[in-house]
Symmetry: C2
Subunit: 335 residues, 2 copies
């Protein structure tokens, strides 16, 4: 029996903002799984801002996506056929083969896991997955917040940001977030216990708004946005402040590079440390991350919010919505 | 007997590039030194780029200079009269009372020291003083170069930069410098053993020149300049590169802030660490610094170069020359 798979291919490289013309859904016949291989049906896949970087011809983060090949990324699937020891049909596996509904791969490329709650598998693509671990690693290893310090988080209701906010609260910090809608601000304050939230679209001068929201200055800035947010954060930063930079979404779709902050000299005067990082380099923290985060989620100390889009046909729309700010929380595609 | 002192005062705050109108030489009568005080005659004073920051109304580095008061900074002087235990006439002292030929102060504000070579007192304002220690602290504590790695130094023949270059060579690194004249480039190659030197004024595209001079990429960037230099350094930086930022002289005289590098997102993709720092926070390294640097200087493993200007009347010109690039090595005023 041949299994058919539907895959989303990148068919041309976007210059600025991507659109549907850059992608195509392709149906292929999968080979039967060989020895040591599995056939997996994906249940959920993730769309994440970092994928935009892989659409460029030259990658800094990682290898670029190949044209006319399936893209890839984090997914949760279920084993359908296994020819591999240690894996059986029905097993739930984390895998890096998003953007397709079925795939055949070596067993070593998928990771069987026992979900903390079988009804909430998609959490392993968000709070309990790569974005949550990005928040955990960035805040703890590079932000090094002390209880009572002020942590500023941009894109604060996003897949990474919302976790940063709540981890920082759990650590006893004062947390200031920035978001692009009043709904998101309300959720962070009411549900997540964030102390102050700025709507950067309506607040006027961002430095002034931030200085008002953080009257004692900022000790840690978790950078998801870049541009004007970084400039404002530097203006309000305390001496010996730390910046953990996991992304700068404001810049991802620029066809031409935009100028950076005009106040970088403050890094010297304020003795600021900036660490760019990518979560994949920090697997030594994975066990502790899962232990802490599963506990916090089950105790209600970390709230999660997802936007779930149904079907591979809508995966590109889900991806594009990441850059319009229309999504709320972690964007998930249910396959 | 009354001692007269000549002092340079800041009389108005420069907006862009300072000029003589912002300064005035004032003659004052000094009080006789009281109990626990000393009268000091300054022999050498330092002019440094950081002093430009203190001319602003609002300081980030440190307190701004007061208008119509003597400016201050590093100087080497000799005690003329002492009413303090542990200090005697003739003692050589480091002090923070530059920009004046004589001064009276509490003994605790000056530091008696035994010069490594009594003929080379001015070294304690350069290679063996604040700029040398800035080089040492920044490179070792924040650059963390390993033997065989490539270190890029901007303003490489300057008071800080020339020391960074030579310390890095002594540690077994490959060193690439950037300067603004062929004379300076020649000196760095011939005398200091720097591997490659770029004249940024004539090299064309700085990123291309840097990529050619550092074919294995840059592991450590010692940032003295900012702007285009930082942008080029990020472009050529290796993964897990470190940037030690002690100043950004390109930006000091801007009346309006200039945009920053357009490629800061590379900090994330390349997992770069940037540390702004000010040497005064790192006095724990002082003893080791003096021990290493006095040894290297006496063994000829660190060459020093000074531009010596004579007389307090020429101190403002000496300071202004720091921003034109006309000076070569450490700028010293002999009083």
């Amino acid at each position: 029996m041949t299994t058919k798979a539907r895959q989303v291919h990148l068919v041309s490289r976007p210059d600025g903002m991507p659109n549907h013309d850059h992608f195509e859904i392709v149906e292929v016949d999968l080979p039967a799984p060989g020895a040591g291989q599995v056939l997996v049906k994906n249940l959920y896949m993730s769309v994440d801002p970092y994928m935009r970087g892989r659409m460029r011809a030259q990658g800094v983060y990682a290898e670029p996506y190949q044209l006319n090949q399936p893209m890839y990324g984090g997914a949760v699937g279920q084993v359908v056929v296994s020819n591999a020891e240690g894996l059986a049909a029905g097993d739930i596996v984390l895998n890096g083969a998003a953007w397709q509904d079925h795939f055949v791969a070596d067993a070593a490329t998928v990771n069987k896991f026992t979900p903390f709650d079988p009804e909430r598998l998609s959490l392993y693509l968000g709070t309990l997955g790569m974005p949550g671990m990005t928040a955990y690693v960035g805040l703890l290893r590079f932000g090094e917040p002390k209880p009572g310090e002020t942590v500023f988080v941009s894109a604060a209701s996003g897949a990474v940001g919302a976790n940063v906010c709540q981890i920082a609260k759990n650590l006893g910090c004062r947390v200031v977030g920035s978001v692009g809608s009043d709904d998101k601000a309300q959720w962070l304050v009411d549900e997540c216990g964030v102390d102050e939230v700025i709507n950067y679209k309506t607040c006027g001068d961002l430095t002034e708004a931030l200085a008002k929201a953080a009257p004692d200055g900022i000790d840690v800035y978790f950078e998801n946005v870049g541009g004007e947010h970084l400039q404002a954060a530097l203006n309000v930063m305390n001496h010996f402040g730390r910046i953990a930079a996991c992304g700068m979404i404001a810049t991802y779709n620029n066809a031409e590079p935009a100028p950076g902050p005009n106040n970088l000299m403050l890094i010297v005067g304020k003795k600021v440390r900036i660490n760019g990082f990518i979560v994949f380099d920090h697997n030594d923290m994975r066990e502790k991350f899962l232990q802490d985060m599963e506990a916090w989620v089950s105790e209600g100390k970390i709230k999660t919010r997802e936007t779930v889009v149904e079907g591979l046909d809508n995966a590109v729309d889900a991806f594009l919505a990441l850059f319009s700010g229309d999504n709320f929380g972690k964007m998930i595609v249910k396959l």
